[in-house]
Subunit: 271 residues, 2 copies
């Protein structure tokens, strides 16, 4: 399994603190040694960093931990390979341009044997995750008009994410910089920080930060992750099948669809 | 105008030495203060670094100068904005996936008012350069079958580059990781290094490197740039309209098409 991290904020905010915690799980405190990547949106632009090295020992990751890149939407992933060898082309987040926007995508889980429907978007690597992303984009392009509104697009994202989750574990992060779509198949949690800001302590590293001096009273910053990153704050767990669309640090819309209980599979029945 | 740099090699090679020289032109020795970017291919995968900051003072650029990322094909660009504001989305190299490969693109020059033909690929930013890239990809997708061979693809690249160069200055670097296509509209030069390797001295920084201890006798590494990066080697200038397709460090094919002499425009006639 992999670990996901995302951020949505109403003001450009860096991800250094959360990334410091997550990074330790990439070969330090955790088993996710098979590469990592992060996408930071700045307006319509996006910077994507990919590294097939473990994040805990990566030189580029070290720089990102201390060099604040300010963003209103970000997606991060550290990988424990199950499908697809350890290689740069299999490192999330994946990126494609759709209708004049860069879309990025990260996946935690596994859908065995998944293949994207034929279409314009084709996988470069050989992960099920990149196939799911291409399938999603090919579906959107096939079904939706270019000028479709966000609510229609969101309905399509929910339907498709729900159908993927019928076939396997499929925790998803998708963003186009304007919004961040999050879907929980088995495991996801979130926290929204707003005034009055206080200190927080990482679970995975001996680091405490006080957000107060770095923020203004109107700032709203939400962090979404596979597992809580801090030990002294209250994180809000998603339920299986729950989705939330984040914009400017807040939930714009949310809901839940039925999914198989893959986190707690039914015990083999005894006869 | 901007500055271009590319590399083609038959063994994974880092770009640190050349990048050190080019980087100085981004706000140090040169006027190209409006961002920079680089794409490094590793097999089918690619790492792209973009930064709207001047390369001479960029923290990420500093890391790339000292942290060797080994690649068989790389494209780099430092920007002096003419069309399109200084913003992340206007920073080269641009990237798109075409038929299961990541294509990257960097442009030096200007084609006033250029707009991409309508198609699947749409610009995210507002530079003429990104419009040219999208036009190129839309053209390839419209005209060529998915399984077309390299020679047919190359003919299409040459035709399109030649037609762009009729409309303005259009020095181009295009790669899909397997090959590197270079087109000179006004200014481009190259050097191929092979055994016996020796030392070389940068023009823009007080740095000398001896390639000999870092190479094997079978290594072949070519560097292509807007202007020679070293002062003690013999660079091979392109002629206007000249194109070369590089593969594994060597010229796979080359040729020349007629282009207007934009480097030496005709003087205004006197009556």
């Amino acid at each position: 399994m992999c670990e996901l991290l995302a951020m949505s904020a109403n003001t450009p905010t860096d991800l250094c603190f959360s990334f410091t915690g997550l990074r330790q799980r990439g070969g330090g405190a955790g088993p996710h040694r098979d590469g990592w990547g992060v996408a930071f949106y700045e307006g319509r632009g996006v910077r994507v960093f990919h590294d097939p090295e473990p994040s805990a020992s990566s030189r580029i990751a070290e720089v990102l931990e201390t060099h604040p890149i300010k963003s209103e939407a970000a997606i991060c992933h550290i990988r424990q390979a199950n499908v697809g060898r350890v290689a740069l082309e299999n490192t999330h987040p994946f990126i494609r341009e759709l209708r004049g926007r860069y879309w990025t995508f990260a996946h935690n889980g596994q859908i065995e044997g998944f293949r994207a429907r034929p279409g314009i978007y084709e996988p470069v690597g050989d992960t099920d995750s990149e196939h799911i992303f291409c399938d999603l984009l090919n579906g959107i392009r096939a079904e939706l008009a270019p000028d479709v509104g966000l609510d229609t697009l969101l309905a399509e994202l929910v339907t498709r994410a729900g159908s993927y989750a019928q076939r396997g574990v499929c925790n998803l992060l998708v963003s186009n910089g304007d919004w961040l779509f999050t879907f929980c198949s088995t495991r996801m949690t979130a926290i929204t920080r707003r005034a009055p800001f206080g200190p927080a302590r990482l679970k995975d590293a001996d680091v405490t930060v006080d957000f107060e001096p770095e923020t203004t009273p109107r700032d709203i910053v939400s962090v979404i992750a596979t597992e809580a990153l801090t030990s002294d704050e209250r994180w809000d767990d998603y339920l299986p099948g729950e989705w939330r669309l984040w914009r400017q640090g807040e939930v714009y819309a949310s809901g839940r669809v039925p999914v198989p209980d893959l986190a707690h599979p039914t015990a083999t029945p005894t006869i």
